[in-house]
């Protein structure tokens, strides 16, 4: 949460997260760099610079694949949410690995010539009119620039400064970057490689990313939206559980989280002020709605974070019509207090005695 900015807000979970991530990256690089040369029975070894470049390039691809799988996996199965928690550190690390890859490439293939290596990189191969032999380095450069933008704008300051929607749109560049990496690999190393193990692993990784994302998107689409203008139906009175929310999708596409706290209903925007995390999928802890993504908290009646924090989300009006809880589609300005509506006792239409005996 905010108050004064500091470089990184550490906590034990983040330490643990980073240790596991670094251990995984170190395992990949160590095995690739130091174990596999012993296994390869080549008459003459691959140049160390090329071997290193490949190790870091392959590592960046694997990391990017894991990162891209976390998001949809968490959307499909909430148990993956903790992996989402500190994903930005994973992303920044990936960028450094990718930069190392590009460094080895630049300082080997594009070095030792009379022209500047950056000019050489852009100039040496100009066969843009063909697929085989296309200067696939261009795709790598684009992906690297995307990753650098994402890493450089990962601090919470950028979220607040750019606003979550613009920040999120900017960070959609990850999808363009992943496509670009796929193109870089397909028109690069895949053209020459005679051993197809890498090809198969590359395709499996890309397929996992595609399948998970499409599945998450389909699950998202399956939610029905309310009709335009009128009060939107949220759920039946009997469906509410103390401390949890029901989510309504408005005609505008916005989502509202209607929480039951101490027997009363309150509605706030489903989008957390931090990263637009789904507040309605969180729960009430110590009288405060807690976002499932990064634990930002809000008073459900006013949409305000408890002091000294300053985050605010819009609130909505709620009413109960018969057995149905409804929400008004017009949002109140963030932080507007709305008097909670008592939840009536559910009508005993389903006699309990049928269930017992």
């Amino acid at each position: 949460m905010s108050v004064k900015y500091i470089p990184v807000q550490w906590n034990p979970n983040k330490w643990l997260y980073d240790i596991v991530m670094l251990a995984a990256v170190a395992a990949f690089l160590w095995v690739f760099l130091y174990v596999t040369p012993e296994v390869l029975s080549h008459e003459r070894a691959i140049n160390p610079q090329i071997h290193n470049a490949r190790a870091f390039g392959a590592c960046a691809f694997m990391m990017l694949t894991v990162i891209l799988c976390i998001g949809p996996a968490a959307r499909l199965d909430k148990r993956f949410l903790p992996l989402l928690y500190n994903r930005r550190h994973f992303g920044v690390m990936t960028t450094f690995v990718a930069i190392t890859h590009s460094g080895y490439i630049l300082n080997w293939y594009f070095n030792f010539s009379s022209s500047d290596k950056y000019v050489g990189l852009l100039y040496a191969n100009s066969s843009f009119g063909q697929i085989a032999g296309f200067p696939f380095e261009i795709f790598g450069i684009f992906a690297l620039v995307c990753l650098m933008i994402l890493a450089a704008t990962s601090h919470d300051f950028w979220l607040k400064f750019l606003t979550p929607p613009i920040w999120k749109r900017l960070h959609y560049l990850i999808y363009a970057a992943y496509f670009s990496v796929a193109a870089h690999v397909s028109l690069g190393i895949l053209q020459d490689q005679q051993n197809h193990v890498f090809t198969v692993m590359f395709m499996a990784g890309a397929a996992a990313v595609i399948v998970l994302h499409i599945a998450a998107w389909m699950a998202d689409r399956a939610e029905a939206a309310a009709k335009d203008g009128a009060w939107a139906e949220v759920a039946r009175v009997g469906d509410f559980r103390e401390g949890y929310a029901k989510i309504a999708k408005l005609a505008s596409g916005d989502r509202v989280a209607v929480y039951l706290m101490e027997g009363k209903l309150s509605a706030i925007s489903n989008a957390c002020a931090h990263q637009n995390g789904p507040l309605g999928e969180g729960k009430i802890i110590d009288c405060l709605v807690t976002c499932p993504w990064h634990g930002f908290q809000y008073d459900v009646r006013s949409g305000r974070s408890p002091a000294p924090f300053t985050e605010k989300v819009p609130t909505y009006r709620v009413r109960v019509m018969g057995d149905m809880v409804e929400v008004h589609p017009d949002a109140n300005p963030p932080g507007t207090y709305v008097e909670p509506v008592p939840l009536p006792e559910p009508e005993p239409e389903l006699p309990e005695e049928g269930v017992t005996t």
Partner: protein, 123 residues
Amino acid sequence: MDVAQALVMAMQTWGMIGAVVALVFLVIGIDRIDEDARGAYIFRPLLIPGVLLIWPLVLWRWWQIETERAAWAARYRPVRASYGLAVVLMSVGIVVIVITGLSVRQTWPADIAPVQLTEGAGQ
């Protein structure tokens, strides 16, 4: 060569303008537009790479906040709608590029022998 040199020069120019923007923004601008940044200095160098890369966006947002042009509601509108588009474009793109890449793979034509078309003068 000229195009490549021009591109590299353009990149350098972009970075230099970015450096100026970063200096002005991190010394003056950030205190004006974000109360959480007041008195917080250690995190500022972390923002330099970001400003270098996307300085036009920084200038635009700075101007927007200074002139209070952005509607408050815009901040709370999640962009889930474009998620589907992004995912579909990425997925289709990857499938197409991988298939295209694999389909143009070359096989060493070891069975094609050299053919002598004319005799040499000395033969």
